[in-house]
């Protein structure tokens, strides 16, 4: 059974490659072939951890003013088979970005 034969909305999305893009940004090449480029600060502001987002309402607690313009990832780490933990230069590292979330956050797939 491979990923492709799973049906429904909950079929998993898996990256093939996760690398740097430029000095700050993150690039993900998905198994599907789609490529996503995440500006560092954009991703930092989307941190899904309990400190940054209200668990119940989904409201963003983190204020954009609190995040410096030059924030960047300092390291990346895979979590299980489902997500990515990002360590930021501002010291924050609580958020686990699931692949599903990352796929949804792809800037080129956002309706503007």
């Amino acid at each position: 059974m491979d990923e492709q034969t799973r049906s429904g909305d909950d079929s998993p999305v898996i990256p093939r490659e996760i690398t740097r893009a430029g000095d700050h940004d993150i690039r993900i090449l998905w198994k599907s072939g789609h490529e996503s480029l995440y500006p560092a600060r954009y991703l930092r502001l989307k941190c899904p951890c309990a400190v940054c987002v209200d668990e119940w309402t989904g409201r963003e607690i983190l204020r954009p003013q609190a995040v410096t313009e030059d924030v960047a990832p300092s390291s990346l780490e895979l979590v299980g088979r489902y997500g990515l933990r990002v360590r930021w230069t501002d010291g924050h590292s609580d958020g686990i970005y699931t692949f599903k979330l990352l796929r949804e956050l792809c800037p080129c797939c956002q309706e503007s």
């Binding site: 034969t5 299980g80 699931t98």
Partner: protein, 362 residues
């Protein structure tokens, strides 16, 4: 080239006609053919499968034998089947360094036979020759010590690590070893988290082909915690026919999907009732619901276990039915589930080996 060398090449060529049904490739290109000998009309080959519990092992052996015997100059063919279980995890810094595959057994709710399936699965895999561990993580109702007839508790080894108790060739650690007997414990997030870390990292499992985890029922914190800490190979979902009807099993499937943990397949337990007097199969809740859900989800169906007192009685006596009554219909059903599960694990592991996993360079 000598006649012998030429025949060895012919033998390998002949074996190319044998397909591995799970991997969709021939056993030669998969590298399963290990050792080819030929001398005085007698051919001997070794075929290394992905698991000793391969469901089509005997069939492949026979096909190989026939293919070799069909060659001119061969009078006798000896085919030896061995196995090397592949690891589904590319993560060697994990909390479980020597463990090749981690398989949680889950259910949408309690009482569906999750522990019974876990214990029989573990014992059946061990019987086939695999190295197996069984971790009873059910903090609410640890029942593995009873099911596996354990009386001793684990001892601490060097560097504070716990040494599992071995019973029926299975290495066992249970939450039941640690729980105070008097009162029920109310588990809170951080405590659960600590317990799981201790369970995963604080036990000297050694080298294991399969670590089966009997999860607590449901889809709460502990399951999430577990999935976040180790790369799980894939989950086995246990469901009764009526739970399928009530959408209980689907919740467990959805949880694993959300975590990108593959679901290896579904086991239907307490499938049907066979009257012990007349042998009539009587379908109390209807059968085959889990098979239908599997199909509609594109998930493998791992098998169905009949509802039978034979299973409960042996469990209560501390010896799973696959050991206590190996010739019984119930034991055979569990064996089939174990083989199908091992096959699904193989498919996962080989997929990782054949194509590469997630590459992070940062």
């Amino acid at each position: 080239m000598s006649e012998t060398d030429k025949l060895k090449i012919d033998i390998v060529d002949a074996l190319k006609s044998i397909q591995d049904p799970d991997l969709g490739r021939d056993i030669v290109s998969l590298g399963f053919v290990k050792d080819v000998k030929f001398c005085g009309g007698v051919a001997a080959v070794t075929i290394e499968l992905t698991t000793p519990a391969c469901p089509v092992k005997d069939q492949m052996r026979e096909e190989a034998r026939q293919a070799i015997l069909a060659l001119d100059g061969v009078d006798e063919a000896n085919v030896e089947m061995t196995a090397r279980v592949r690891s589904s995890s590319s993560d060697n810094q994990s909390l479980l360094p020597g463990v090749k595959n981690v398989i949680p057994v889950a259910s949408g709710k309690g009482g569906v036979g999750k522990s019974t399936v876990s214990a029989n699965l573990a014992v059946a895999l061990a019987q086939s020759g695999a190295q197996v561990g069984l971790m009873d993580a059910d903090v609410y109702g640890p029942s593995i010590p009873t099911l596996m007839g354990l009386s001793e508790k684990p001892v601490s080894g060097p560097n504070q690590q716990m040494i599992p108790v071995t019973q029926y060739d299975v290495k066992i650690i249970s939450m039941g070893f640690f729980l105070p007997e008097e009162k029920a414990v109310i588990w809170r997030g951080p405590m659960l988290d600590k317990m799981i870390t201790q369970f995963l990292g604080g036990v000297q499992w050694g080298e294991l082909d399969y670590l089966i985890i009997d999860l607590p029922p449901g889809t709460g914190d502990i399951q999430l915690s577990l999935c976040q800490k180790v790369p799980l190979t894939g989950a086995v979902i246990v469901s009764t026919p009526q739970d399928v009807a009530l959408n209980v099993a689907q919740k467990a499937i959805a949880m694993f999907n959300q975590l990108n943990t593959p679901v290896l397949g579904i086991v239907e337990n307490m499938s049907h009732y066979r009257c012990s007097h007349c042998g009539q199969r009587d379908e109390i809740f209807g059968t085959g619901g889990a098979r239908k859900v599997s199909e509609s989800r594109g998930l493998p169906f791992l098998g169905e276990i009949p509802l039978s007192t034979n299973i409960r009685v042996h469990s209560d006596q501390g010896k799973p039915v696959v050991l206590a009554d190996p010739e019984s219909e119930q034991a055979k059903a569990f064996l089939q589930v174990a083989e199908n599960t091992a096959a699904q694990i193989s498919i996962r592991a080989m997929a990782g080996e054949l194509e590469q996993d997630i590459k992070v360079s940062f």
